[in-house]
Point group: C2
Chain length 176, copies 2
């Protein structure tokens, strides 16, 4: 008994919804991406609406977020009032733009605040019991260095674009 393609599509969409939620995005976002990703042709908003069961409003705002993250692209056809949406299928490209997007985010602000804390220590303007000041300084510094390492690694990841899987294997061999 063969499985219908439409069932497969539905399963896949549900899977991406879960993954989306897992990473702290609305599950609707995952669903919208899935629908576009599995469509051979770009889809207009109302088509996304009917395939996901969300309302126009929700799709309108979430598809915009997806576009800002570079996961989907919006464009219009001449002589057609509708906008069309298409999924980005180069994930390394998407990752790059997501990371860029996050650059100006709350996360980065928090990281920068750690850095500023460190600078206060280094300008010697922190008062308190010497041993404790030193301890806290070392800890804050260690965290800062860890963030830097992760940041460098992230830069490495976005370079994976157009390089593909082979190089990930290379990385592994360096680390052995």
């Amino acid at each position: 008994m063969p499985i219908k393609l439409s069932i497969i599509k539905q399963d896949f969409t549900e899977g991406l919804s879960q993954i989306s939620r897992f990473w702290g995005f609305p599950k609707g976002m995952g669903a919208i991406f899935a629908v576009l990703y599995l469509s051979p042709t770009p889809l207009p908003l109302d088509e996304i609406v009917s395939q996901t069961g969300l309302t126009k409003g929700a799709v309108s705002t979430e598809v915009r977020t997806l576009a800002r993250m570079g996961l989907v692209h919006r464009f219009s056809k001449l002589g057609d009032r509708k906008d069309y949406y298409e999924a980005e299928s180069d994930f390394y490209k998407s990752i790059r733009s997501i990371l860029k997007e996050r650059q100006n985010s709350e996360f980065d602000r928090a990281i920068r605040s750690v850095k500023e804390t460190l600078e206060k220590f280094e300008s010697g303007s922190v008062s308190g019991v010497e041993a404790e000041v030193k301890f806290v300084y070392e800890r804050v510094k260690a965290l800062q260095e860890f963030f830097n390492a992760i940041d460098t690694l992230a830069s490495a990841v976005i370079k994976l674009e157009n390089l593909g899987f082979v190089n990930v294997t290379k990385i592994l061999s360096v680390l052995k």
Copy 2:
């Protein structure tokens, strides 16, 4: 006018709370970790309570989650009824255990479902217009390969433990 250490600690704690929220964890979790991370000595539960302003109940459950993720360690002292908590300061170690923890998570279940979908295609048991079936198959497969690459990369990251920053730089040079 020198800055008091206690102010610094407070700023740092707020910063980690934000970072915690950004990654989809409760902000209280970040605060608890920060307090422990900046303490030169292990702290009992009631001390965490007073330094974070959370209630016993909240600290009790969240500290357990942190322990499961390997970000803090709990232990008891002989002849002392209290439990004591200490932050893990080797972040690579923490990352490794967080990734392990996630292995059995919803995320992994979702990823596995993508794999199963793929297997259905490969056993030829999907019905539908041939061209469309093929298109969807290719797309699902591409996503699966991407997940694999990320997975491999994650394995690489956890190997960074005890290797440190130098090797991240090495990685970068390979990618140039």
